[in-house]
Symmetry: C2
Amino acid sequence: MSSVVIAPIAESLAAFLQKNNFSFIATIVDNHTYRHCYPAIKPLLNKHTLIRIKSGEEQKHLQTCETIWEALTKANFDRHALVLNLGGGVIGDMGGFCAATYKRGITFAQIPTTLLSQVDASVGGKLGIDFQGFKNHIGVFQLPETVLIDTAFLKTLPASELRSGFAEIIKHCLIADGAKWDEIRRKELADQDWQDLVAHSVAVKQRVVEQDPTEKGLRKILNFGHTLGHAVETYFLTRSAEAAPKRGGQTGRLLHGEAIAVGMIAEAYIAFTRQMIEERLLAQIEEYVFSVYGRVALTDADIEPILALTLQDKKNKGKQVRMALLDGYGSCAYDIAVTKTEMQQALDYYRG
Amino acid sequence: MSSVVIAPIAESLAAFLQKNNFSFIATIVDNHTYRHCYPAIKPLLNKHTLIRIKSGEEQKHLQTCETIWEALTKANFDRHALVLNLGGGVIGDMGGFCAATYKRGITFAQIPTTLLSQVDASVGGKLGIDFQGFKNHIGVFQLPETVLIDTAFLKTLPASELRSGFAEIIKHCLIADGAKWDEIRRKELADQDWQDLVAHSVAVKQRVVEQDPTEKGLRKILNFGHTLGHAVETYFLTRSAEAAPKRGGQTGRLLHGEAIAVGMIAEAYIAFTRQMIEERLLAQIEEYVFSVYGRVALTDADIEPILALTLQDKKNKGKQVRMALLDGYGSCAYDIAVTKTEMQQALDYYRG
């Protein structure tokens, strides 16, 4: 298991570099973290190669990997080099994938700067890129040497990003800690204690991943809300910003957590219809998640393509869609085959 | 450790498929193995996806991977699918890399059809592709589920390919088994017992890889002859066929084993000058390797670019070239820093 250090980055990064002796260091940033986060770590690094890429999920593809591999090659990086991924999930997943495949793998460390990557992407060693419209379709499992989390970076985020990351915190509570769920659902988003929630989510995720690093079994519970959530996310990703419907007063792309919020309500409904959870829990989830995320407007025409996309989910077996479904208060089961009709009804339920 | 089965493919593949329950099967072939080897396995497979690519090392790049990933995606391959790599090192390394990164890794099996891949590439889980002229620059370590070796496939090879693969057999004897070295060096190439030698090489390689799967230490001895050998190979690879000098009466590209033969003599010379091996062993290596491979004509102008290419060797630390050097009869040391002057003198010695 990689170490996860939650502390001011000036302390944690300095300690990490002092403990190790890297031949070369590269820092991968996007335009956002270059401006807002890189200044905090630059003074801690000596000579290093800065690799700056554009911001956004649409950069998470093979061509960007080629740019990164080329930069490492040109700087003569050897197997004793370090790659620091300073950014959100895109930088972490893609920079990690590039490091894990450069010369068959060099050391990398994650410095997640978004709430989403602090509570989810940076822990657990899932790396990868999108391919032909499919999310994280090409990748590997490889743990980073360390994960350095500084919640001060969260202050650089727009409110929508904070809200997006919060969906994974909700998920971690729902699948593993009913008491924590009771705690967070009684607070507004603005009143949450991020330092505490980040530590809680990391602990939940690490405990699960430790038992099943490559997702043969238990780890699949982390996918609660993600079968339909990913399909919704991919669907909106492949549509142009103009074509996307209004959502909670906003137009444009759906953020990851916003899509997972849809998935959590819809999949909780499936769990309820199968009598795996009580109506009370479904009602709690619905009430709270709608209050934070609003209701994404889905038209009749959206449903079929969303359902089709669930067929590409990595947890499926053959043409059988398999879900992680809640089976209690703070508890989740996995590998449950669900039918297309069930998913359709769940999305209908979501639409109200 | 993956199982390695040396047996007629009709037996070994049938048994492997019967033991497992794959949702989908893809077979990756090149033009050569499509014609000469695929007919032997086709009757053993039910419905499967055939992925056929052009033959040759120059196909071992990212664009071909995209073709393979796309074929798997279009056929809706899930995580319970199998990829069979039927071919030499190019197919095995690249097909394995594609399988190991598709949806973060699906099962693959190697069916090596060349001597080189039977005694080397298929065992040990080194996967990858060339990138911007650097061999195996992008890749991962991932063991195949099984390796199915049928020496009957060797009959489909041109003599030059058999000779190329034999270089790795020589290497395995030199680094790990002095008695076997005495046995093979007393026989002509045509008189060698391939079934016996393949089993011997696989055993040597597995023993080493088992102790150090990701090449942190001991595994580096398998790189004897490969620091200068790879540089020579890359150098000739990047030159056009016309520009390549005459070698042993042939023109055109240098095969992997032919380049490793250069490396083994040159690196044995470095070991000798450092008093790590006796003159008698150097003389034996020189005599036998030249008798099998002839002497590759290297001009003054070739030396500098070859030396420059050693800087990209994966075993280096920073700008320091590190070699595996013989340190006895059937014994090898690793991580030994050598100077550019030593390498230059070694190539001069090779040139005679």
